[in-house]
Structures are given as structure tokens and as C-alpha cells.
Symmetry: C2
Subunit: 457 residues, 2 copies
Amino acid sequence: MRRLTPSDAMFLYGESREQMMHVAAMMPFTPPPDASPDHLRDLMDEIRAGVSVHRPWNMKLRTPDFLWNPLQAWVEADEIDLDYHLRRSALPSPGDERELGILVSRLHGYHVDFHRPPWEAHLIEGLEGGRFALFVKVHHALVDGFSAMRILARSLTTDPEERDRPLFFAVPPPARTPRDEVAGVNYAAVMAAVREQYGAAQTAVRALRKVLDTARSGSMDYVTPRQAPKCVLNARISQARRFATQLFPLDRLKAIARATKGTMNDVVLALSAGCLRKYLLELGALPPQPLIAMVPVAVRAKDEAGEGNSVGAILANLATDIEDPRERMAQIIASTTHAKQQLQGMSKAAIIQYSALLIAPSMLQMLPTTAGHVRPTFNVVISNVPGPSEPLYFRGARLEATYPMSIPMHGQALNITCNSYAGSMCFGFTGCRDTLPSLQRLAVYCGESLTELEATL
Amino acid sequence: MRRLTPSDAMFLYGESREQMMHVAAMMPFTPPPDASPDHLRDLMDEIRAGVSVHRPWNMKLRTPDFLWNPLQAWVEADEIDLDYHLRRSALPSPGDERELGILVSRLHGYHVDFHRPPWEAHLIEGLEGGRFALFVKVHHALVDGFSAMRILARSLTTDPEERDRPLFFAVPPPARTPRDEVAGVNYAAVMAAVREQYGAAQTAVRALRKVLDTARSGSMDYVTPRQAPKCVLNARISQARRFATQLFPLDRLKAIARATKGTMNDVVLALSAGCLRKYLLELGALPPQPLIAMVPVAVRAKDEAGEGNSVGAILANLATDIEDPRERMAQIIASTTHAKQQLQGMSKAAIIQYSALLIAPSMLQMLPTTAGHVRPTFNVVISNVPGPSEPLYFRGARLEATYPMSIPMHGQALNITCNSYAGSMCFGFTGCRDTLPSLQRLAVYCGESLTELEATL
């Protein structure tokens, strides 16, 4: 049995008909040249046959009919119905990227089942050229996106000839170390603090105050939790999803980082800012003030086990009010540099507590009673999750890319997450279908944004 | 705007994460010999292009975020996102009946979206032999199963050469007649009556008393709302579904009806009783007392419009305690004959009110607060929906069969519904995946049950 951490519990409490707190990954593969037409069927039979399912993939909720139970916990399921969790799916013709995007949007747009371990894996056949894709979906209260990607990578191999590595759910977890409870966020305390309008006197609140005070002095480098403009991205969401992807060679992004003296993360933010500006301009909905992004930062200790969530956060000014791409990039770099300086000199526990305070108002929005009534502290979540640098294989099939699908929430209708993998940066844009009717354009404009930045070098 | 009838509202209130109140139909088609491999793609493009969507398919809830709103209503949607409602899907190889069953179970196992008209239609390609299937799903609060089947049939044609008939959502509804409000069930009153242990003094309650009194005299022909035995079929359900189908020539069923002096409905009940007995025996879970089936009876006036629900009900003794198939059948016929006699001489309004009283305790179970705490009045719902007698075509493709998928509920983990169509009887077994792990066997045993009955003729 494992009690839920307060952070896990938040993702459980946030779950509703419209707001589904699972994350996913879409991974297209190129099969080996010697693959038979039936290899996917054989593969599935083999995968389902007699494997044991390891933690956390064998854990289910103790009281699935009473999510808010204060004694809620993850318990080991007696039986795993692998036919349920491991699914074969197929694309209608012509099996192009568009059809793949449509299918995974649908698969991402319905709930996990809390009466069993809350995950599904789909082996999707029918992609053009005999290719296939793996789609894996898991509730964030069980595994966070960072950990899920790491576990997925462990079930792949750099050796194209290795054909018997178990799939992710059958990989034993690394030896567990006691959870560092000090590092956990006390969300009840956070909520209380937020309700007092950031008025409490703990360390984190003092740090936050410092940010607020600096902001009041007029500098736009610091981003405070109160300055995000109103934006169409911050609407209540409905149930259906859209998903768009974009893939860039890492070298192109690195060249920009070098030339602008920014980080890879800054380049990701700049590309996101560029496409958001263009997209919102076209909708006639670009706020005059710059959009603010919440950027999760992994603060997990290296010796920590793969379960649970320990994510910190900074707020970044996306400078979407600036037309010139190079100037915009400079403003973004200034903003993230200051935010990171702010975090320096704080203990790990304090960093987490501080980050929780930053994002707390938007977490309040997850709860049904407050959804839509709290002004967002930021306009969009942009995550950059570093991934494996070498090409990976699954039973001889080469992983082409790994696209993350994240969680739109009430007040946060869009999520941008990217993974680096084998010399590429893979962007995933996950949005509410109704709030973002032309989400695909964001991916297109993201590419244009890169070209424009390159032109300034 | 259309206010919800009390019956529509019940199906809305019953909706929860596990209990999804939509019905569906699975319809396999054989394409015309001249169909090109791309005809399904072309067909979908054509279907989506510039059609108008008619009532009720363009109606959505006024307050989707507040289902229980006492002022809840169906309003016309300003815009219909046809790409959302009309979907292309595909089967993994080999595209056999098993894969089709798996796919439609999944499609039936997630919620409709109440932020838009609550229906989806999937054109499923990849069936063996170049065949395809249409899967249509709609919330019961918008359209009941009877009406949905009738509307679907209207969008098909008996002429294989007619290639331009609009799909169901684009067919204008027949001229509307004023709703016969007298015939509606006042569920608030029903609930109050049930809470008083059937103790009120209205006509329907007097009729029900008569049934109870007769039952107390020892005859098993009358079925009372208190005598259903405890059974595994009456568990709380989880979210996932299983679906199994069976198809019989109508002539075989008619021969049994003739020989036993029963109705077609009695034969359907006998086949269901036979497979349930065998299935439960195998699980070691056959109750010593006979299972009781609730059998919906359509009481709609012929001039009534296609929306809304007006369904009456009788309770039938399935005689699952009797080993001999012919004796079992005789007992079933005696039970349904008496139940129908009971309904005779009652006005239409009284019949509906009476039926509502019969099924009320199980409707109470739909509500989250009472689910699982009320003893079921019956063990299983068995519906027999007469359908078109001639072969139908959709743009030259011949409809092979039409399998209904209905609603498992808390306390009612299995639903058996069958449609007659073009000389066949199509059975659909819809169940909770966890409560009915080997649902497929029910379909197999249903076939064996028919052979056994035939052997007694």
C-alpha cells in the first residue's frame, strides 16, 4: 500500500468529466526490414503472455468510487487484466500523420478507469509504410510525466538486435529509497497561504513577496503571480482534445541558444512564444501585455524512486507583445535568468514550497468548486523534458520520435511539452478541442518561428 | 428549446463515471461489388460536406456543467462540429468479428460529451472481406433506443441502387404532434410512492398491490417486485464494457413460438433464460430461485414524434431453476401471459405509471446516493425491439445485421437486447467488463439453448 502524496491527491481531486488528469506519449516506430506483416499481432500475443506487472503499473486506488477519501491509497491489484491495458488499435487509410493525430486525440480524450491500474497502452498499426506507433496513457496521480518517460525509455534499447527486452510495465523498478518527505509539498498549507493572499510568513512566502516587491518597482524581468493578462487560453475546457506535433533537429535549436547566450529551454520558450503570438494575432485575441508561461522544473533527487511527483516551477515572460523575434528572445532570457537567480540559495524544500505557491492559484482552478473563478497566474504551461540522446529500439523497430501529451485544465486550455530524443526536439501541443479550434496551426507557426529566429542570427 | 421530460432527466441524473447512460448500435455492412478501396474515405468526405443536422441530433444541454440543473433543457447548438461527431475508425488485422467486438466495446465504454449534441457515429473499416461497420452511440436522455433504431432505419433504403439518401442526422424529423403529457411518467411521484413501500393509493399502486397479493397466495405466475433473488448480475459496475452478439434466423424462433403457443418475445426470454442458467451454473452462481427479467414494452402512440421516452414494463419469471428447456419455456409463457393480462383494462397513462412503479427501485439505483443500497426488483433487463423486415442498404452497401448495445447500470451489470431485421434476430449482450469476465460465453450458450429447445419440438 502507498498513501497518496498531497501532490498525487491534487491530481486525483482535479479529475472531472472535462478535466482528465492523465498524461500520455505518442511514439511512432519504423519496424525492422525483416518484420513480417503479422509481426504486430505476434508481438502483442507475446507481450500479453505470462509477464508479471511491476510497480507502479500494478497499483490501483483503494476506493475508486470515493476519490476524495482522506484514506485514499494505491494498493496492489490482485489481478491484472492485460487484455484491457494492452490494446491493439488501427488507423483508417491512408494512415498518415493526420489520422494518427486524430486517433491519439480521441484516446487522450476519455477517462482512465480507476477500478484498475489507471493506464492503457495502444499498439497502433496501419501507419503509412508499414510503420506503427505506441501510445501510452497513465494517470498523473500514479506517475508523473518525467518518471513515465524515464520508465518508457528503460524498456527500449540502443541495440537494434536486442529483441527480448520486456515492455515498460514488466520492468522491475529500481531499488527504492525512503521517500524524502521533507521535499514533499504540503498543499493544504499552500492552499491556506493562497487564501490569505500570499500573506503568511514562511520562507517561501517571503521569497514570493520579494518577487512581488521587485515587480512593483517596474521591472518586467521578474514575473509575479499577479500579472498574467486575460487570454482565450484561460477558458473553462470541455471534454474533447486536439493534439499537434512538431519535430526539429536539436542542432538548429542549439545554434540559436549559442548565438543568443540563452539555454535550450529559452529557445523552446521563444519558439512557443513565436507561435502563440502569431496564433493569437490571427484570432484577434493577442493580449497587449505579454503572456506568462509556467515552466516546470524537475527538482527530484537523483536517488529518488520513479513514483510520485516533485516538480518545481518558475514563471517566464514570453514577451509576446514584442514583434521582433530577436528582441523577444532577449526578453525571455532576461526573465528566466532572473527567475532562476531567485531560486538560488533556497533549500530544495523551500524551492518546492515556493514553486507550489507560484502555481497554487491555478491548482485551485482544478477543483470543481473554484474552477473558472480564480484568475490564472500564468497563461500557458510549457515543459521541456530532456530525453535519451541515442536512438532507441523496441524489438528491432526504431523509435522515430517521442511526443508528449499533457493535461489541459480549466483555465489552462493549452499545454506545450517537448522531449528531446536522439538529436531531435519533439513538440507536443495538447489542447481543448473547443477552445483551440485550429490547434494544428500552432505547430505550423512553431516551425515558422524557428526560421524567423534563425534569420536574425 | 425543449425541457427534459422526467424520464430524460432520470437518464441524465444517473450518468456517472461508471454508469454511462448512452445506447448504441453496431451495424456491419457488405459493400456493393463496384466499391473502390477508397470508397469509405470518399463517403465520409461526402457525408461531412455541407449537410444540415436535424433534430434531435443538433440538440445539446443548456447547462452541461450542471447536469442536475432543475432548468436543464435541450437547446439547438449554434454550430455542429461534424468532424467530431462523424468519425473514421479501423480494425487491427485480421479484422474479424472478435476485433470488431473489442473495438465497439471500447467505443461504448467512454462518455459522450455533454458540451455538444451527445452522439457519435463511427464508420469502421478494416473488416474481413472489405466489409465495414457503422457504430452509432447516443445518450438516452436525448433519444431512446426504440426511436434511435427507427431514425437509423429511415436513413437506409430497400433499394440497393439508391446512393444519395442522407445519413440519419440529416433526415428531417416527421411533423411533430403535441406531446401527450398525460402519458409521461411523473418520476418524482413514483419515487415518493416507492419510498412509501408501494403504500400509496393511486390506480397504479392498487394494480401493483393486486400483483403482490396474488403472489402471496403462492402462484409463481405473477412476478412481484420483491421476489428477485440475489445474483452476481446485480453488482455495482465499473467503467469498461464487454459486448457479445448472436444472430438467428427468425424462422427457427417462429417455429418454437408456434409449437409452444408462445410469442416471439417468449422465445427471446427462453433463449436468454437458457444461456443465463448455463452461464451462472458454470460460475457456481445460479440462485435457487428463478431469475426475474424486466421486459420493456413500447407504449408510445403511433402519432408521437421520435424524441423522448415512453416505455412501459412487465416482469417475467425466467424459470432458471428448471432444468428441462420445454418446461422452462412453459413457465416463462405462463408468467408473461399473466403479466400482460394484468396490464389489460388499464388506460395508457395507468400502464405507464404502473410500469414505472415496477422498475422504480432499480431506477433509484441509478442515482449515486442510493446505488448499491436498494435490492433489485429484477435481475436482468431483456428487450426485444422489432425492426425492419426487409433488407436495407446504405449507398449500395447491404446492412448485414443490427446489434443493439444498451446500458449496464449499478445493480444491473448485464443487458440483453435484440432487434429483428430482414428475417434474422440479432442479439446484443452488453455487460460490465469486471462483473462479466466471460460474457462471450453467453452468446455461445444462447445458440446452444436454441438447439436444445428445438430438440423438444
